[in-house]
């Protein structure tokens, strides 16, 4: 049964009409025109669809719209843009941390949550945090480097205001 839902996505309140069981992923992509979260498995196994809800990485393919309600959703687009990238996005560019880039959304969103919790992660902690995100192109080493680079940058930005 279609219902109207109010969502807060990337700081803006949006209204969508859909069945409450609809996975958040399709609402974000099709109703709100966002590209960041990507369909990888629809099973909660790969992380390509990750978004942040209250700074926790959530698999939007397995999260029903009705469960989101008033929570604030942040997608890749909400972190930064091509012209004003988030330090994580800048670091991914600096490290050229992708091949096809299909997994990048999940990597960046999961790393964002990690760095908010732990601003100085060790390489093992980055690997640990990302262990539920799959990359088939084999860009793992670059992704870890990019996350560490972003951590460094965020840290030095704090020290020198």
């Amino acid at each position: 049964m279609s219902q109207t839902f109010r969502l807060s996505v990337n700081g803006a309140v949006r209204t969508v009409t859909a069945d409450g069981d609809t996975p958040l992923l399709y609402v974000l992509r099709n109703d709100l025109g966002l590209n960041g979260p990507r369909f990888g498995c629809g099973l909660g196994q790969c992380g390509a669809c990750s978004v942040l809800i209250g700074n926790v990485p959530v698999r939007s393919c397995s999260t029903p719209l009705s469960a989101v309600q008033d929570a604030a959703v942040v997608t890749l687009e909400g972190l930064g843009s091509i012209d004003k990238p988030h330090p994580l996005q800048t670091a991914f560019i600096a490290e050229q941390a992708a091949q096809c880039g299909y997994c990048s959304n999940g990597m960046i969103m999961t790393a964002k949550s990690l760095l908010d919790e732990n601003p100085h992660p060790k390489p093992e902690q980055v690997r640990q945090a990302l262990s539920g995100n799959l990359c088939r192109c084999g860009t793992h080493t670059r992704i870890v480097r990019a996350v560490l680079r972003a951590a460094d940058h965020l840290q030095s930005a704090k020290v020198t205001p």
Partner: protein, 740 residues
């Protein structure tokens, strides 16, 4: 960076969305054999204006038939063009993979894009620059040698007068056949090619730009899903689709033979309708597959076309030395793209337009025309990016699905997204293989004779072949178009026999390929094709022979290797790796070495792998790898490193974990739990040493690390344990078994 983004083939995307078509001029009716031999892809796409267009503002648009698969090819090709044209990198725009606009360069596959498209673009750009200069000399009344070019502007020697490319290029300047008579710049004068220029497509990918086929949203677009049969050989007994038709949003339920699909207003509605349609269909199916634990024996027992790939000296020659023999196997492997395949199709006035992440827009168009009964000229296929494919996955199949579903809803645009299980169960896998190697070791430790036998299905069942179709749903229609007879890729590239001819100098050798025509599982091209298993066998066996001869593996290889570049990568990898690490308390330590020149004529790669083996639980961990690569002239060193690093990690994943599971009826690997791949916790460190040779031709490297990596791991395991792993994958079960 913004400018860079806009320069991608999204131009082609956008233009076609707007319904514009651009006439493409190819040389008409040039008879092959009468025409001059031109380098790279110029050979079959001979018109300069088929490759380059100088815009009124002086920017240059480059047209390539090769497509971006995440390997960075469009960035590298831009670098080549900018360099030859003396244009700033930002002023080159790429249009790629469109049957309406670009040259036909077949498939983007086999690590050949720089060699073919890059060479064509380099010669075309050099000639275009020369033509622009000639015209400038005429207009400025100056001798051509006195003029200089800076950033796309031609200047007189005293810099008092100048003309931009845009002013010079009008009319018919490039409307001619390429001559390839203008030599490209020598290596020392290149300033952009050879630099680690950042990829054009990555900023969009990191910020949520619309860049994939999945991101295409056409006005009025509907969502489609397909319902595949439950098994390879299944007949549809009955279907009551009435309940499915009544579901919310459902526009159409399509049944044509064994092809079933749904179209709905919203994506989640299409998914729900798919599930309902799955329930509504009753199938009969047969247990047609071999027992999976007997796959290799059955493969060797099936009728095969045996061909002699190579023979040297007297392969039966013996000096009465020690004879060794070993068989190596690999299972079927999945491409397992992170994003399942997707396509968008739209019919309008008897014209079909398809957006696809295919590896070859022209071959796909040929097969679409055949299945749909349309003229090729009535179909436009436009490439848009997808998730990395690593060969022939479901990309082409889903393009046909989208066309069939769009046709069923009066041509409205339909996006079809395969679900995870569609991709795993129906993609064409990389074939299982058996490789048997035997050799005789002379008294002096040299190899007296060598034989290599391969049993495999073909490694190329791509669209675009001469007969039938390789688009899945074509086989399922009520008027099916079956697959043509299987063929494999001939040498010197080879398919199942790729890299089966040792680069080592053995006095006597015989290499044979037993191509098995019956294909229990659907198979086609997976990155590196047969090279992965052939190199695994050759390089494992070289270590077995070295051990039998009591000679160090590096010395043993060098002794049989004349090629200087091969020797150099081996040495470089060993040097960079340094001393083998001592035991770290995390298992038995071992180091292994392996080497190959991909396809025997592309990049040279040597890999050193350090592993730790836990004899109790059978865990084999690859801790560190060092790779030395010689890819000739390197267009983008960071791009090369990225490909090599990715190749090592992917090959490690194949080697330790991967195997397509199936029962007697069909594929049971249907998600990431039943087909696990390497995770962050398991990834090795990868260090890459690039031996740059700017004066040498560029050599394809995208697939070159797969083979040496698996063999280095196997050799490291043998060092650690004294036991041999000859069957892939090296799972904990296998490890425990060989160590028992």
């Amino acid at each position: 960076m913004t400018a860079g983004l806009l320069r991608l083939s999204r131009r082609a995307f956008g233009r076609a969305v707007a319904g514009l078509t651009v006439a493409f001029t190819l040389a008409p009716g040039l008879v092959f054999g009468q025409a001059k031999k031109l380098p790279g892809s110029l050979l079959n796409n001979r018109r300069l204006d088929g490759w380059l267009r100088v815009e009124p503002d002086g920017a240059v648009t480059v047209f390539t038939g090769k497509v971006e698969l995440g390997q960075g090819i469009l960035t590298a090709l831009s670098q080549i063009a900018a360099d030859e044209l003396d244009l700033p990198f930002e002023r080159v725009r790429m249009v790629s993979g469109s049957t309406a606009e670009t040259p036909d360069e077949g498939h983007t596959a086999g690590s050949q894009s720089i060699e073919y498209s890059g060479t064509a673009i380099r010669y075309a750009a050099a000639e275009a620059r020369r033509l622009l200069l000639e015209r400038a000399a005429e207009r400025l009344g100056q001798p051509i040698d006195s003029l200089v070019v800076e950033d796309g502007v031609v200047l007189t020697a005293d810099r008092s007068r100048h003309l931009g490319y845009g002013e010079l290029a009008g009319g018919d300047l490039l409307q001619r056949e390429a001559s390839a008579m203008v030599p490209p710049k020598p290596a020392v004068r290149r300033r952009i090619a050879g630099q680690p220029i950042p990829r054009l497509d990555l900023p969009a990918k990191f910020t949520g730009g619309a860049i994939y086929v999945q991101d295409l949203r056409l006005t009025g677009m509907l969502h489609g899903r397909v319902v595949h049969p439950p098994a390879y050989h299944a007949d549809l007994l009955s279907l009551d689709e009435s309940a499915v038709r009544r579901l919310p949003g459902v526009i159409a339920v399509v049944r044509d033979g064994r092809f079933l699909g749904v179209v709905a207003e919203r994506e989640e509605q299409a998914i729900a309708a798919r599930a309902a349609l799955q329930k509504a269909a009753r199938w009969s199916h047969q247990a047609s597959l071999p027992r999976s634990d007997r796959l290799h024996q059955e493969l060797m027992g099936m009728p095969a076309d045996t061909s002699q790939v190579n023979s040297k000296g007297d392969p039966t020659k013996s000096t009465g030395g020690r004879r060794l023999e070993a068989s190596y196997t690999r299972p079927c492997l999945a491409h397992a793209s992170i994003g399942p395949s997707c396509a968008v199709a739209r019919f309008g006035q008897d014209r079909l337009t398809v957006w696809s992440h295919t590896q070859g827009v022209f071959p796909l168009r040929r097969d679409l025309a055949r299945v749909l009964g349309m003229a090729e000229g009535a179909i436009t296929v436009i490439h848009g990016q997808g998730s990395g494919c690593y060969g022939h996955n479901g990309a082409d199949d889903v393009a046909l699905d989208a066309a069939l579903l769009s046709r069923a809803v009066d041509g409205r645009p339909v996006r079809v997204q395969w679900m995870r299980d569609d991709e795993f169960a129906w993609e064409p896998f990389g074939s299982a293989m058996v490789v048997r190697v035997a050799a005789e070791l002379g008294a002096d430790g040299g190899i007296v004779n060598w034989s290599h036998d391969i049993w495999s299905n073909t490694h190329s069942n791509r669209p675009g072949s001469n007969a039938g179709t390789n688009l899945l749903s074509g086989w399922h229609l009520s008027q099916p178009v079956p697959a043509g007879p299987p063929k494999d890729i001939p040498q010197p590239n080879g398919g199942g026999d790729r890299n089966s001819i040792p680069l080592y100098e053995f006095p006597n050798q015989l290499v044979r390929y037993h191509l098995v025509k019956e294909m229990p599982l659907r198979v086609s091209a997976l990155r590196a094709l047969g090279a992965y298993a052939n190199i695994f066998a050759i390089e494992s066996f070289m270590d077995e022979l070295a051990a039998a001869a009591g000679i160090d593996p590096l010395a043993f290889r060098l002794r049989h290797l004349k090629d200087e570049r091969a020797r150099a990568v081996l040495q470089a990898a060993v040097d960079r790796a340094g001393a083998a690490p001592p035991a770290a308390g995390d298992g038995l330590p071992g180091r292994g070495l392996a080497f190959a020149q991909y396809k025997n004529h592309a990049a040279y790669v040597a890999v050193v792998a350090d592993v730790a083996v836990n004899p109790k639980d059978g865990a084999l961990r690859v801790k560190r790898t060092v790779v030395a690569v010689d890819a000739g002239e390197v267009i983008n060193p960071d791009g090369l490193r990225n490909q090599i690093e990715g190749g090592v990690i992917q090959s490690t994943s194949w080697s330790l974990k991967e195997q397509v599971r199936f029962d007697r009826e069909g594929v049971t690997s249907r998600d990431w739990v039943s087909y696990p791949i390497l995770t962050f916790a398991e990834m090795p460190e990868v260090e890459v040493v690039v031996l740059d040779r700017p004066d040498q031709a560029p050599l394809g490297a995208g697939e070159a690390a797969q083979g040496p990596t698996v063999a280095a791991i196997a050799n490291a395991f043998a060092r650690a344990t004294g036991r041999r792993l000859r069957d892939l994958p090296f799972s904990p079960d296998r490890v425990r078994k060989v160590m028992a």
